[in-house]
Every structure is written in C-alpha cells, then in structure tokens.
Symmetry: C2
C-alpha cells in the first residue's frame, strides 16, 4: 500500500472560491446553492479519477472552505441547498481507488476531517441559523448520502433512477465512514432492522419507501425537484435570525510561513522537535485591547484577534494532523496579557446575539473540538510570561495533562491562570459539556464555585487547589519533571495512546458526535486494518478489478 | 501467532465449585468471601503459567460460575468480598503470554466474556442487592484493578507495596481491555488528567493519593484490611432486601449433548449449517402452564422453565461465540404455546420483589444482552408453529432482521406474535432501553400504543403494521426470500458486519456498558490488530523477552 502521506507533497488546507475545482457557490438573496461538480482529473494525488462526483480530501477541503465562507462572508444567507452539478448522479461518496491506495493513517485522518466538516454543517444549521438542505438529483451513495444526512431536510427526485444507499458493507467490506450509521439510527431514528437491510443493499432505497423508512424527508417528481428545494430553503431562511442587510467578513488569505521545522502565522507559531516527536505550539494573546463594540469588531474583519487566532490554530492543527504524523505530542504554550484576553472574551459573551461575534465564538468552539478529537497527546506548559486566560485557558483544559510552574524561574515572575466567563459554556466539547464541567464530573459543584473566581489571577497553589492543573513543580523540579514527562510520552505506543486518550477525554454524556468519533470511527479504524478490507484479496483492494474478495469467515 | 481457537479442544463454560482450580468461596452468614488463588499450572491451554494471580479464560469461567451460584444458591448473602489468596499479590490481570499466543478473535472474545462478567458483578450489586466489594491485599494491576473497579467499594492495604495500576499502555501497548478506562472516568469520575497520568504509570498509585484521586475508596494499614473489609461488607449486607432464611436454588449440572453439528439441551437446540455459515437455534416454550406461585417456582429449582431456558441459551451463545467462529449468522426459531409463555411472564412480573423470580428475570436479561453484543448477525424466522411471545418475542426483537410468514404454508396455520408485559422493560438492553423502546426511537408513543395489544395474537399483517417485524413474505415468496437473505448475509465481510451491527443495534442513550462494548472494545480491537502491539516487534510479543518494542511512531 502506497504511503500517501510521505511520498506526496504536504496537503494545504487553504483555498478560496476562485481556486475551487469541484464546487460552485451561487447566491440568491437568503438562499445559497452549493453545487458539487467534481472534476474527474482534479484529484489531490495522482492515481485515481474522481468519477461520478466521488470525492477525495481535496474535494472536501473545498467543501470546508465553502462552509466557512458561507458563515462569515454571507450573513444574509439563511439556507443552503446542497446539490449536484452532474446530470446523472448526485454523489458516489469517497473515491474508492483513492482509499485503496491510501495508507491506514491517511484514511483515518481523511475520515476525521470529513466528519468534522459534516458536523460543522449541522452546527451551521442549528447554531448559525444557516440551515442546510439537500436536493438529491441522482444516485446518492455512501459518502454522498452521508453528506445529505448531515443536512436538515432531504428532498429526492422520484425518477426511477435516483436512490439513496450505503453500499459500503456489501461492496467494499468497510463501514460508511462519515457518520452514516450513527445518523441513520440516532439522528433520523430509522428503525434498526430497516437500517440493517438498507446498509446491506447495494442498490439502496428510492421513492416512497425512502420516505416511509425516514431515509429522506420528501420525494417529488424530477421536474419539481429544484422548485421544491428552493421552496423549502426559502421557508427555512425566513426563520433565521441572521441579518439580511449586514456586510460579511472576507476570509482573506491566511499568511503562513514554513521554514524548516517552524510554522508561523501572525499569532500562532509552531516549532517541531522531530527527535523528541513533539510540536511546541505557542499562541499569543492580543496585542491591544479589543474594539469597543460589535460594529468595530466587524470593521477589523479577518484581523479581529479571536477570528485570526481561530483560523491560525485551525490551520496548524490540520497541517500537523495530516502532514506530520510522527509528531505525537502537541505542547501548548501561550504568552501575553490576560487582561486583554479577558476583555475580548467579554466582548464575545456580551453580544451573543450578534451574528459575527457568534460566528467567531462557534469557530473557536470547533477549533478547540478539533484538538479534543486529534489523535495526538496534548500537554500544556504554564510558564512565566504565559497567558492561559479565558479562551486561551481552554487549551490547558483540553490538554491531557498540564504543568504549571510553582513560583519564579530565572527571576521571571510566577505564572498565573485566569478564568473568564468564556470557560463556562462558550466552547462545549463534543459531549456537550464545557471542559470545566467535563473535568469535574465527580464534583459538579466545583464549576459553580469557580464562577466566583472569574477575573482573578490564580497562582500554582491556587490553580492546583482549584483542580485546574495536573502538576505544579517548583523551579528546582520544573525542568526535569517536564523533560521526563515529554520523553516518557514519546516512548509509548502511538496506537495505545490514541485509544487511551479517546477513552479518557470524554467522560459523561454522549452525543451524536461522541458516537461518531468514539464508536463509529473506532470500528471503522479496526475494519480499515482487517485483511478482509485491505489485504491483497480484501474488498477495497480488488474493487474494480473483476476479482472477488476472499474473506476470512471467522467472526471476531 | 498460534490460532488458539482451532488448534485446541472446544472451551466448555460449564463448571462447579468442586472443580474450581482458582477460586474458593467461603460463607459467613450474609457475607461471602470469594478468594482468587490462581494455580500457576492450571491454564486452560498449554504454553503459559498463570503467575501472580494472572488469569486466562479458564479462571474467568470459574469467576462467572461463582457469580451465578452466589446469586441463585445463596439468597442469604448480601455482600461479597473479593480478595486474593496469595501472600504478596492481589491480581496481575490477564496473563500476557496467553494474550501473546492467542489469535485476534480469541483475544476479542475473551475480553467480551470478561466484560460481561464484570458487568454482571455490577448488576448483582445494583439489582440483586448482593453488593461486591474488594479488599486489595497486594499489587493490583491491569485486569486485577479492573476487577476491583467492577465492585462498589475498594479498600486497599496501605503497606508500601500495595498499589493499583493500569500498566497496559506503558508496558504492553494495548488498552486495559475490561472496562478500566471507562470505569475510571465514568463510574469513579476520576479527573481526566489524573486518569491520563495514572494510565501511563507502570507502578501505579498507592496510599492516600489513591483515595484523593478516587482510584480506591479507602486505605487502611495491612493489619486492619480484613477487619475493615468485613465491616464494610456487613454494613452493606444489612441494607439488602435478600431473604436471610430462604433456601437457594442449586444450579444442577446442565445437560448438553453435542452430536456432529447438533447441540441439544432440554429446551434449546442448535443445528449448524457449516456450508452456509449459520446456526439455527430453536427455543421451545414450556411444556405446561407455570407453577402457581413463587414458592412452587422455587420448588422446581433449576428445572423452572425460564431459568432452564436462560441457562441453556447462555451456554449455547458462549459455545457458539468461542468454539464456532466461522458461524456468522444465528437464526432464531421458537415453537410451542404462547399462552404458556404469557403465563410464565405474568408469574415473573407479578412477583418482582421475590428474590428468586427477580434473579431469573435478571438472568434472562443478561442472556438477551449477550445476544445484542455478540459479533454475529441475528435473524428471526417467524413460521407456523413458532412461539414468539413475550420473553421469546425478545429474540425476534433482538434480531437484526425478522421474517414472518404472511398466511399459511403447506396447510400449517399462519404464525402469530404475542406481546406480553415482559416486552415493556423487563429485559433492558445495555443502553437501558427495552428492545421495543429502542425499536421505536422515532415514535416513542408507539410503545404505549402497543401496551394495548398485550395478550392478543398478531398475524403478519398486524405485526408489520405494528412495526414488530421486518418483512412478511407470503407462502409463494417465503422460501426464496429467506434463502436469499441468508445467503446474502453469509457473503458479506464478517468484519464489516460486526462494525455495522455494533453501530445500528444501539441507537439512543449511552451507558457505561454501551461505552465499554461500543467504544472501548472497538479501540481495543483496533489496537489488537496493530503491529505496535502484535507485530514481531510489538509490545505484546516482546514482553518478557528482554527485547524492546520497536514502534511505528506515526499517529493514526
């Protein structure tokens, strides 16, 4: 199996509509239409053709970009219609030849990113009040149907040719990898025996049965599909609270330099230590106090600090995940003035109804969630000069472990932490809890107690007492203790750490998202390792060759 | 890797205390003590020594038997102390050489069974009111600590030598496989960063820190350990509602014959079709109406039909799982009189407070849960002469798919289904829902509507209308449709089916158990496939050889 992650150039997640190969965006007042028209020869990597509107990571990077721009650049849009630009197919899902030639790690990471994008579509519908619907205008298979499942209304052509299907199990011996099984039974609440039949039926289900089984919401004659989708979108857009007349914020090109083992943006930088297998990520607090009000924030556009930080963190996380697989430990540092972060947090929280500030908060939420579900160990180092306050404190709360210096070091002042209102629910994890609530599952009352500490500076003693940090070595122990912890982490099996972290990070309640990342993804990862899928005679390998799979029939 | 499932004699799950090699049971009024004293040369298979109270499947089969006998044979016992009979160790967990020489399928199945037993310990504490506690009298590592975690109170010796630990990640590059990670953060609600540290620390945590971190409930000087455990057990036993003076029910030897491809018990039989990869399991309704009251039921002892059926189903499921891996599809049939099943169900439900009838119901619940979490496809065929009523209807509701003949066939009468009170919560799944509630997640009101149908016979039309069956072919289509469905199922990848079924069977809420079977097990299965654990240089393989693991450092 070719290792597509090391033999190919790094993947760049930055793009813009002018560079799209596979999607077009059209706007008509409060309704946008996003049309998938995948260029067959436009694959991210050589070796496969993107037939039948099948997709690879490159197609999904554009989808993600479109989603971001719809939210930030188009406050006037209250509903998005997702449809296909091909005459005879909606979408055939992830490209199978691409999967067949990808390494295990690449496949798993690809599924994670596509999952995050579909979750973000659902978040857009629920929280940005920009509701996504699907007009299924041709066969809609596998990942194609999973895209539709991530929208809130599915209208399908009733034309004898158009059906929805999840043919992965019968055709490829893998699972629908992008939340399909979970959304079937948990979001759409399809009866489990019908779901079982549906997921083993290559040709899928069409027409009235698709509605009766709750696989789609509505079928209409092909001639009425566009009109019906338009009507539903208009109805949904009428209910949005997004402002019709507001000006959007252009997501201007993200400045990034990569020099050797150093990646740098305006507020975020990242230094790789390949020998020790770690990335030191430093996030800078704002250089000044925040703008006075939402209008002034909007005027700053993409330079508005919380938005800029979200974009930079987002990009560095995606870059590290995809292009730096052997870097198993991310160490977060911060620097700057807690007062400024606290003031920015207050601006975000004091204007929850403002569409732009809401979008910024939701974006930060999504980026922090990416950290939680990354298959990397995460440490935070709270040192002199650091600024783990409010929004930036979430980085330490997201860490598997944090170390805070107790006292001064080399005459530099003792570090402190600061809670702000943003730590109490602004950035829920995928399980729906704030990181503080998840931390104190055993003593939920502590979260309320901590509200009384908002705005105060907590030194190491106070932070440990409050349960906010893991270890607080003094200046004598600091260097050795931190070094040993980093080295020990690097020595463990990366796989065991991934499974352990996925299990320990999400105590408490479960949601659609935890089920997708925790359960469905783990099963898919397992299947992606099994000879029945990826062995020489496995279904993914023989697909399209005319050969038949030769399965080991033992049930595990 | 030796394939221990095909080169060895079949595993027999039937045992009794007279044959135990590894455990002793002692009784003192309302307190029982179960002592683990594993015989080093008593392994189920050759090739490893069970040092340091480490365990293999054979040790766990005895533990399971002890648990069952405590519940049925000892109504007077209200608390069970779990401890070690070794002078210097509590339990070192699953035997690593045994794991190293086991096939993937054997390891996964072993973990499933051990998980079910630990879940049954927790159910005994919560629902049988026979509360388990642990007296940790020596190092308690890995699966040893997971055993303790499945009890409700852990008292540990504070002697400088005794610690709890989960050293799997640092030592073996696998996860604690028996619910440990989930119970840490979800049951004991250990703070996630402390759990992270604990799970990467070979030597574990002892003394006061273990209590402060909520890893154990109490530490006492070694000299006071037995006395303290005894005191806690006596306090807990004082709160039970189990009867002090009642007579228990002896779990007499289970009669089973295996002839060729046929396994037969009194009420359950199973015919294997190896060519088609399926097992046809037939369960017979009772031969007569039930005894008049709980006392008469008790007098029947192990012959009481619901108990006998539970034991037989339990054994056949464990047998098929462990000894018949290539049999991927279990097809349930029933036969007999619905009136009798309904009458038995009424007896069970009308006397919920009776300790014996409660035990019988809980046992049926556990057996039905085993079906849900089995990595086998499950179909139900509802044919003329069948008896899918009440408790036996649960088999059809547990199925991934059911087929009910619509009308007569060969002059035999049309089959019917019957709901009884037992279908409305007597046998919750691992997600806490009745199978009916799980079936109608989308329309919960249907469950209430169905209560009005209790006791009536539903033909295929009515059953389909009620949503209780998947397909209802008529006599012309029956044979072909069923045959095709069985053949199609057998052709799919066993692994993909396992992942699909695990995802579709448990919509709705999540519990400790769904997290263990759905998430933790899936991650463990994945890790059990990874070269970093099981490759030639993987940690499981080199353990004890003095060699170092050579990990692929890429994070997935």
């Amino acid at each position: 199996m070719a290792d597509t992650t090391t033999t190919n150039p790094p993947v760049d997640f930055r793009t813009d509509p002018a560079r799209y190969k596979h999607w077009t965006l059209a706007f008509d007042g409060p309704v946008a239409t996003l049309t998938m028209d995948v260029r067959e020869d436009g694959g991210l990597r050589p070796g496969y053709e993107l037939k039948l509107n099948s997709y690879d990571l490159g197609v999904d990077i554009e989808l993600y970009d479109a989603l971001q721009r719809l939210r930030f650049e188009h406050p006037e849009v209250g509903a998005v219609i997702l449809t296909s630009g091909k005459e005879r197919v909606f979408c055939a899902g992830a490209n199978i030849r691409m999967l067949g030639q990808s390494s295990h790690g690449f496949k798993v990471n690809f599924c994670k990113f596509t999952n995050e994008t579909r979750n973000a579509m659902e978040e857009a519908s629920a929280e940005s009040r920009q509701v996504w619907i699907t007009a299924v205008n041709g066969p809609c298979a596998g990942g194609g149907y999973e895209l539709a499942l991530a929208t809130e209304w599915i209208v399908m052509a009733d034309d004898g040719n158009t059906a929805v299907s999840l043919p992965e199990v019968p055709l490829l011996a893998v699972l629908p990898g992008t939340g399909g099984l979970t959304r079937l039974v948990d979001k759409r609440k399809v009866r489990r025996d019908r779901a079982d039949f549906f997921c083993t039926t290559e040709e899928g289900v069409k027409g009235k049965r698709a509605v009766e089984w709750s696989l789609v919401d509505e079928v209409v004659p092909r001639s009425r599909l566009t009109e019906t989708a338009r009507q539903r979108a208009t109805e949904l857009a009428a209910k949005t609270d997004r402002p019709r007349a507001a000006r959007g914020v252009a997501l201007t090109p993200l400045a990034r330099t990569i020099e050797g083992d150093r990646v740098a943006y305006t507020h975020v930088s990242c230094a790789l230590d390949r020998r020790r297998g770690l990335a030191e990520i430093t996030v800078a607090a704002p250089a000044a106090m925040p703008p006075a009000d939402p209008a002034a924030a909007l005027a700053q556009g993409a330079a508005f600090w919380p938005l800029a930080v979200a974009r930079e963190l987002d990009d560095v996380i995606l870059h590290l995940r995809t292009n730096e697989e052997p870097i198993g430990l991310w160490v977060f540092h911060t620097r700057g003035h807690a007062d400024r972060v606290e003031a920015y947090d207050r601006l975000l929280l004091d204007h929850e109804g403002d569409w732009f500030l809401r979008e910024v908060r939701l974006y930060l939420k999504r980026v922090l969630k990416r950290i939680d579900v990354s298959s990397r160990s995460v440490f935070a180092l709270i040192e002199p000069g650091s600024c783990f306050a409010g929004t930036l404190l979430e980085l330490a709360l997201a860490a598997d472990r944090s170390f805070m210096l107790d006292g001064t070091l080399d005459d530099k002042p003792a570090p402190t932490l600061r809670l702000t209102g943003a730590n109490f629910g602004a950035y829920p994890m995928i399980n729906g809890l704030s990181r503080l609530a998840a931390r104190f599952l055993k003593e939920p009352g502590r979260v309320d107690d901590l509200k009384g500490r908002v705005g105060g500076d907590l030194d190491a003693g106070a932070a440990a007492e409050a349960g906010l940090v893991t270890f607080t070595p003094d200046d004598i122990d600091w260097e050795d203790e931190v070094r040993q912890a980093l080295e020990a982490r690097a020595a463990f099996s990366p796989d065991a750490l991934t499974g352990m972290e996925a299990s320990l990070r999400f105590g408490g309640p479960e949601t659609l998202e935890t089920k997708i990342f925790g359960r469905l993804s783990a099963w898919q990862n397992w299947i992606f390792q099994r000879p029945n899928a990826v062995g020489p005679k496995g279904a993914l390998q023989v697909y399209g060759t005319g050969e038949r799979s030769d399965f080991d029939r033992r049930r595990v």
